[in-house]
């Protein structure tokens, strides 16, 4: 399934946010992470239930240094 993840189009096998994070080596239990699909935040509690669809635009973010 073709998706956009953090601005990059990729072929992805994962069916949910949780699976996507795990496949990328990101511990889904890690704190201070947030995910949005098509401009809508997906809460952590929904990571395993929210299914991914073709052409979904996904943002996976964390806090970083800033002023």
């Amino acid at each position: 399934m073709k998706l956009k993840i953090n601005g990059v189009e990729e072929e992805v096998a994962a069916a949910t946010v949780g699976e996507l994070l795990a496949a990328r080596g990101v511990d889904p239990a890690a704190r201070f992470l947030a995910v949005a699909i098509n401009g809508v935040v997906v809460r952590r509690s929904e990571w395993d239930s929210q299914s991914l669809g073709p052409s979904d635009d996904i943002e996976i973010v964390k806090p970083f240094s800033g002023g």
């Binding site: 511990d27 947030a34 949005a36 935040v41 996976i60 973010v61 240094s65 800033g66 002023g67």
Partner: protein
Amino acid sequence: MTDPFVVAGTTLSSRLIAGTARYPNQQVMLDCLEASGAEMVTASIRRISLEGYAESLVDLLGGRYRLLPNTAGCTTVRDAVLTAELAREALETNWIKLELIGDRELLYPDVEQLVRAADELVRKGFIVLPYSNEDPVTCQKLADVGCAAVMPLGSLIGSGMGIANPAAIELICSRSPVPVVLDAGIGTASDAALAMELGCDAVMVDTAIAQSHDPRRMAAAMRAAVEGGRLARLAGRIPKRRFAEPSSPQLGLIGS
């Protein structure tokens, strides 16, 4: 505390808010934050690098500081609101430093979009601290839509040019129904002290500390400057006079 700094009902122990960017390295950043005495520090929200999950800024700060996420780099209401919502989710705080930029070279706020984004975020339950231009009308609008503070710039972000329009800052401070935080352009300690003397409730500093020659020392200097400037403000300065007023008595002059 006899002179509390209160924002949205929360008392902060320091009137200096520090940024976490542009330090030579992480250890210097940690030392500077400590030397600054800041309680609240800012952070940005960015895409994770999918090559690896590096130690996060939040882990580094070790729960010692109150994190204020920002919407740095956003140029539209949509992006600013989404960034704020992601920040709320990632950091479990509804506080947000709202930045909505109208010019990438100047990093000046797009005030029309800024006020709209602030309004939307307040309605969504955020505690909004907007980075603003130094315009009393804009600051009033931001307060009117429910921002918890207003944060006018002293001069361009990272420019070190100090307070370009002290009269405007003083006007904003005298009229603002919410706390005023001077945010952007501070270059050295005297700029921070001036901001406090003009009536600001707090000051936000990043580049002036991080990129100084001795950041740890500059962080300490900023701490002292904010404290000194605030004391001076509360003490009530003498007026500026056109002519001299002698300090020594005029009677009993030898040879008179």
